[in-house]
Point group: C2
Chain length 391, copies 2
């Protein structure tokens, strides 16, 4: 008599293809794991000690939705110092991950009738977070050649629809490493103003840039703040991927709305995790500098070795801890990456996971042990040479 | 030239009135804090030790979206044992809080064109989670008199609209303590089948029942499983409110969809928190029993003392750690509760926070120190006697 209940459209958004490669790797022991955006080293000891200490001190209760005031102060002070621009604690909302930060921004700015423009190739969760709200995700690829990725403003201009409400991008980009200059941000902001768009600027790799101290942020452009929301995470800078803590930066009125929405999503980041994040900000600069040296070295290894492999086009990424080479003639990166796991015990992320402009590329995370990185590139070279012969 | 960007409807959902009372209490030192659904004692030591140990052992990385397999196994085994019904690990999705569990269910089952029926008075976040999806929240109050709360099936039947997709309720209820019997669930399930509705059954207080071992669950009705999703949390049973960990129970296909959606909301519960939850399940029974004795004692104190106060109607709550008396003649519980903080340093939750049927009541959480509870009721008595004279 009765039928099965049916799902809402959000329940049919396909799972991450990176997660699917990871699941395949779990079935094939010995697979080198370069698919996630995660360092293979654990969280540094001084942060772990702070987290453990906070549990011992009973930071086990509900906290304010936006996080402890002292953490918001510390984030604001750190952002102001790094970007040489005023930032106040009431403009910070601590979130239970960078992912939550993005989800909250999408909920606050998008509904079913709207569309959002995303600069791709891009971490697929951003497009998915747009689609969870029911809005359309319009993907505009960066232009690519061996000199690097480049934002094509003409394509951006042509993509705007009457219902477009948001432009979302990451700088440094994941997987591309593309990093917006201050001039790029000026043009992006002017584009958003002309079309009355919100700007979601994801900056989780801002400390991992190799030609300067920190990636520029649109928050540095005072006039743009009323439409700018920066999303951030402690995951990449402080090797805290599993802890689930990030934040947003936006004017106080917007921050208040994001704070309220967080109550109805996850309520807040765990109290002891907030204390660990506070320790990261207060005592983390030496660690960040050391970490960056390590990534610089691995990046050099990856670039130099990959560039010797025929049929591969690699631009040097100015930021992030990924290389994202294009493989000439590759048309199904997901099938190729599945084969890498099954036949070569090598796990990398397929370019097609990252939306328009990603197919034909693969993403390797070089935040792994140096020997693992070298072995991974060896396996990759063998596999790619084999595969090329079949093209 | 350009305008300010505008917010989406979700960004205008008002904040929790419980959170507003809490914020007011923060401005008035010495306020007794009975407004949250949170024990004033910290997480027990054996769980804290497990969390600290897991950080030391580097459970600081990304985990599977549904949680570690061993935790899913342990949850399934525990649920099967307590409810004497088969439950498999692939039917469990560990979530980064009971709140996340509810948000995922709403996303998976509701979209803008839909409506959901909620049995109220109810924790306001459930109604808010419905509205975040753009769906309409239809509130159907329980009937109330001094013998207790009661579900009115005629009102329920009359409330269904063609676009209704979900029935959501909590048993034991927060704030009412109302607890569905197995027969109630049979009727509720039959109602859902007749109208092709999903059933969201929130069971976070299932261990806190005072006339039996555990509250019945609709999961015990095998035929209903294809439309049933149970949401759960470790917060109340194990005093883990600040940790952010819960779970869902649903057939594997639904579980898979919830798991995928979680990737785009918060990705997963923290790894070390999952390990702490595992310790709670493995070693927590003695603690749960002891905790329940304490709540039973406090409940008795609250009931006996409040029932002596004139102008107050209190039903004995069969479950939860709240009392939810009706105050005769009270028409603005939020204003009354604000006054309690400002003038009497007593913080309780206004009934109006809990939707239809809540106005005229207040919620006191008795999971506080016994002396605090006694002092709180003293202050309440003085304040209410004063207030009554103004009615």
């Amino acid at each position: 008599m009765s039928h099965d209940p049916s799902y809402a459209p959000a329940a049919s958004i396909p799972g991450s293809r990176i997660r699917r490669i990871a699941a395949l790797a779990d079935e094939h022991p010995g697979t080198l794991r370069l698919f996630y955006g995660e360092d293979t080293l654990p969280t540094p000891d001084f942060i772990k000690a702070a987290g453990r200490g906070a549990i011992a001190e009973n930071f086990t209760f509900y906290t304010p939705n936006a996080g402890f005031p002292e953490l918001r102060e510390a984030i604001a002070a750190s952002y102001a110092r790094l970007h040489r621009t005023e930032t106040n604690a009431d403009e910070i909302v601590t979130t239970a991950s960078g992912m939550v930060a993005i989800a909250l921004v999408c909920q606050a700015t998008l509904s079913t009738e709207d569309s959002a423009i995303l600069i791709t190739p891009l971490w697929p969760n951003l497009s998915a977070a747009v689609r969870v709200t029911g809005a359309e995700s319009i993907e505009i690829p960066l232009a690519f050649d061996e000199t690097g990725f480049r934002l094509d403003f003409d394509r951006l201009e042509a993509a705007v629809k009457p219902n477009t409400r948001l432009l979302a991008l990451a700088s440094p980009g994941n997987p591309t490493g593309w990093t917006a200059s201050h001039d790029d941000w000026e043009r992006i902001v002017s584009f958003c103003e002309r079309h009355d768009l919100w700007l979601l600027a994801d900056g989780v790799y801002e400390r991992l840039v190799f030609d300067r101290e920190i990636a520029p942020s649109p928050w540095e452009i005072a006039d743009a703040r009323k439409r700018t929301i920066v999303t951030q995470s402690f995951s990449k800078t402080y090797r805290m991927t599993g802890w689930r803590i990030g934040y947003t930066i936006a004017l106080a009125e917007t921050a208040n709305r994001l704070k309220t929405l967080q109550e109805f999503v996850v309520s807040h980041a765990a109290g002891f995790t907030q204390r660990a994040a506070l320790a990261a900000l207060e005592h983390g600069e030496a660690f960040v500098a050391e970490s960056k040296l390590r990534y610089e070295k691995h990046r050099r290894i990856a670039i130099d070795r990959l560039r010797k492999i025929p049929g591969l086009v690699l631009a040097e990424p100015p930021g992030s801890f990924y290389v994202f080479p294009r493989l000439e003639g590759l048309t199904d990166s997901f099938a190729f990456c599945r084969g890498l796991v099954v036949e070569h015990r090598l796990g990398v992320a397929p370019g097609s996971a990252f939306g328009a402009g990603g197919e034909g590329h693969v993403r390797l995370c070089f935040a792994v042990d140096e020997n693992v990185l070298r072995e991974a590139i060896d396996r990759f070279e063998v596999a790619w040479n084999e595969y090329r012969r079949t093209l």
